[in-house]
Symmetry: C2
């Protein structure tokens, strides 16, 4: 008889572990148990099913060539038994058994294992809010959720989304696409906390607001009102009338089974595993959303549930339970989201994360077109690079904009994974032709500015600091070095205009001993101006990071 | 008096060197000399100017914010003197002077330098062909070339392009867009030699042929006929009537000035420089298309002229001539081209290049959609990864298809630069959400198959080898494991159909001792089939790399 491998959970991680175990050990008896009816589906596609971008739920459950990944598929193709509608309720570690409860009958049966894989996934965090049991309040995690939500959405006009993270934003887009009026409430004082620093998040917030989403950040939900059905969301910013509410407050790992079996739970709240995806019981492995992993930049344990990570971990667990030897190194916190034609993502650490992890950092904001500026269809993107000050090592990249942010993130993923410095990043031989990038890719430009800062040539100042100076009436000159044409279109109140082309002549009129902050559209002319003025003997000149394009505050127009 | 820095050549490398030198040394006297009238333009944009994709030549010569980069701009903004219409004709190394000939008058003047930068660029290779002086025969290198070519194109109907490299293909697309009938002639027996391996190049060739381009590979041009104006291109494949001919046989570095000054010319034919971009004369630097650089995978010197590299080298030369200290590490041979909605590119070494550099290699062909297969707009791309067999180190990636190949290349650029192995590539935390990638990105899938091959789990066979077996009547079974529906649409003649889902039942009917080659659409089911049959005791099963999607030969349809 072959090794008995039991896998609990038939989505990304569990399905992958099963398939991989089968390839490694043709003789194993492999059984996958799942409490749902739908198995191995693309859970990350659910917001797109809600928006009807993906029309048929079957598309989420098929292989790329259209074969349905159901129990029959797993049996025939993979030689793997799948039991659906069965919840694993207890693990007998001593006797190596799992107790399963059949959903339909409540009957209990027992499966014996030689090796067990926990791929129990994650669930939406439960908010202890008054009225949360009212109908019309949804989470978006399973296909069943999505079906209910779609039905409700087609008879509703106003929706309120609680949570401005990845799923909250994807759901906001989905409901906008369905024609609903959407209000989004986020407890922290920015969208996408943990993904973007505040000034980058503001770009997303402005864009969503332009698309008609009412956004309340720094706003806490106090409860829901309604008579059986939700009609109002009570928040610290007032009442939000809505007959449809989506709770997207983030997810927590499903660890009850593991905890009750006495397996070690990490400080993150997820199941602790080693590099081989092995739990504190050597016969039991865990993979996917239910377990924690290592952040390769900080070395700390983290719980960052993602379908991409689940697949990689499932592969490793599958190899190991089948008698092979594989390891999963960890993640670097990459995340990306599309929301109303805007792309936003990051990899590595944000400035906020880096500082709270104890790093001394240098940063740069670099907005620019995503390909040669003369190539039709070029769209703006803004990058924020974060580096360790002493070593120049890149700690993280954030990228936001209408253009191709994903490829800059993916290139940075590889660079950060291998410990690249700003100097090394700036010399990467990235693919160049006008339809794809400028001769100096956005990443190269950002890395070059970062080098200039790290080497002390460029002196930047963050937009938030400039705003503080303006608000507090500091004695400094904010110098706009753009052209008169650009200035007449849009400008920062209180800035003085001296176009870069006239600066060499006109700077004599400026005081050499006063603090001067230069800026332009994207910060390159601002930096140029800093160098010109320093060379002329000005004592305290800085340029404002990112220029007017990433100025997150109000602008004067027209 | 400041350091006198003279720069010869005012395009990418020269202009960058000048700007950077100014920022490092505010007191330097910087003069840039160029023989043309147009300076600092986006030369890589010229094919798009030919196609009218870029409408105004000014767009190629402007900064991203629309400021014209002309001599006045350099003077006012950069504090750099630019002399146009001046050809540098001799360097007096002993006395540190450059002799300039004014184009309009023929007058000679002399400039003294403390440090000199050669940014003399490259020129199209001259083909020693009969009739090449006929009118209607063009190269595409300068804006002046493009203006003449556009004028001619508007009165022509048939064009012949000589050369199937990057510029040849971009020009083919440009002339197609202008409504011309295009024939393309390439001496070697594939398009994009040096960029793609033959089976990858075939994907591009098929696509261009579908768009109506007549392609002759392995075809040499013997001469041009016509009475003052070209009317016919005589080739080894017969006559190609054309009143417009574009020569795109590649470029050679402009080294006459350097050679006559006694500077060392490398084996590549380009100016030899060290990491600081310094030539054999310590007072003279070179950067951009005129000089050679180091290939970071092979360690060999190469001449790969690209605007992206020119900018990076210009920065380094600029820093060093201004008294700073910077180094340029090298390139890894990245290239990319858009041709009629198809994207094709590579980084690192092709299989051909890797083998001729002496590497023992393992490769994988992995076609798949460029994002979650259920996400609307997903487009196919094919990746080919090349790794060193012993170490698993990734040597190169090729990517071809209608979808996002550039981001896979850029991620691979960083990975290859830092010496990533297949195992490391497979665990990169690449950005995942359905609009951007599948949960397992194309790169991850390719790297996983490569690992399976390197570890001996997966046994692949190249399409070319399968074709040879079929043609020579080898005794083997070619097993199509796709569905009957897929098989009825398109198939390889001589293959036997046993759908994967039926394989476990039906494989008993196949001989266990015969060589069996499995395949599907993309090779994943083919690999699955190999594992199933091996487990059942079949002795010699391989899967065909890339499946039917990258089969470069004829297919039966309908």
């Amino acid at each position: 008889m072959g090794t008995r491998i039991v896998i609990i959970g038939a989505n990304a991680a569990g399905a992958k572990a099963a398939a991989k175990a089968r390839r490694i050990d043709p003789g194993a008896e492999i059984t996958v148990v799942d409490r749902g009816e739908f198995i191995s589906y693309g859970a990350c596609g659910i917001p797109y099913y809600v928006s009807d971008t993906v029309q048929e739920v079957a598309e989420l459950m098929s292989t790329p060539v259209g074969v349905m990944r159901d129990a029959a598929f797993f049996r025939k193709v993979k030689g793997v038994e799948v039991l659906t509608g069965m919840e694993a309720v207890a693990i007998g570690r001593k006797e190596k058994t799992v107790s399963l409860r059949e959903d339909s009958t409540g009957a209990i049966r027992t499966l014996s294992y030689d090796r067990l894989v926990l791929a129990t996934g994650s669930s939406p965090v439960t908010l202890p809010l008054k009225g949360k049991e009212l109908s019309g309040i949804f989470t978006v995690k399973t296909i069943e959720d999505a079906e209910l939500l779609k039905e409700k959405a087609s008879s509703s006009t106003r929706a309120c989304i609680v949570g401005g993270g990845l799923i909250g934003l994807e759901t906001a887009e989905a409901l906008l696409e369905r024609g609903l009026t959407v209000t989004l409430v986020e407890m922290r004082n920015q969208l996408l906390p943990g993904v973007l620093d505040p000034e980058m998040a503001r770009i997303v917030e402005k864009h969503l607001a332009e698309k008609g989403v009412a956004i309340h950040v720094g706003c806490t939900v106090e409860g829901f009102d309604g008579n059986g059905r939700v009609e109002n969301v009570a928040t610290t910013a007032g009442n939000v009338p809505a007959k449809l509410v989506v709770l997207a407050p983030g997810v927590k790992p499903n660890v009850t089974l593991a905890r009750e079996a006495g397996l070690e739970i990490g400080a993150t709240g997820a199941i602790a595993v080693n590099e081989r995806m092995q739990t504190s019981d050597p016969a039991i492995y865990a993979c996917g959303d239910c377990c924690e992993t290592t952040h390769l930049v900080t070395g700390q344990k983290v719980h960052i549930p993602l379908g991409s990570t689940a697949n990689k971990q499932g592969r490793v667990a599958g190899i190991n339970v089948a008698g092979g030897d594989a390891a999963f190194a960890g993640v670097i916190g990459t995340a990306i989201v599309k929301v109303c034609d805007m792309n936003a993502g990051k990899t590595g650490l944000t400035e906020t994360e880096a500082r709270s992890a104890g790093f001394m950092v240098e940063t740069v904001l670099a907005p620019a077109p995503d390909r040669a500026h003369f190539f039709p269809g070029a769209k703006p993107i803004a990058l924020k690079l974060v580096a360790e000050k002493e070593s120049g090592r890149i700690l993280g990249l954030q990228a936001v904009g209408l253009g191709a942010v994903d490829k800059r993130i993916d290139a940075a993923v590889a660079a950060i994974t291998f410990g690249a410095t700003a100097a090394q990043l700036a010399q990467l031989d990235l693919a160049y032709a006008p339809p794809y990038a400028a001769a100096m890719d956005n990443l190269i430009v950002a890395a070059d500015i970062l080098r200039n800062k790290l080497e002390g040539h460029a002196r930047g100042i963050a937009p938030a600091e400039v705003k503080r100076k303006l608000d507090e009436g500091d004695d400094f000159i904010l110098l706009d070095v753009r052209s008169p044409g650009e200035h007449s279109e849009v400008r920062i109140a209180g800035a003085k205009l001296v176009p870069l082309g006239a600066l060499r002549e006109k700077m004599e009129m400026l005081p050499k001993d006063k603090e001067i902050v230069t800026f332009c559209k994207i910060s390159l002319r601002g930096y140029e101006a800093q160098k010109i003025m320093e060379a002329a003997g000005f004592g305290d000149v800085k340029f404002m990071d990112g220029g007017i394009l990433t100025w997150p505050y109000d602008l004067e127009r027209g």
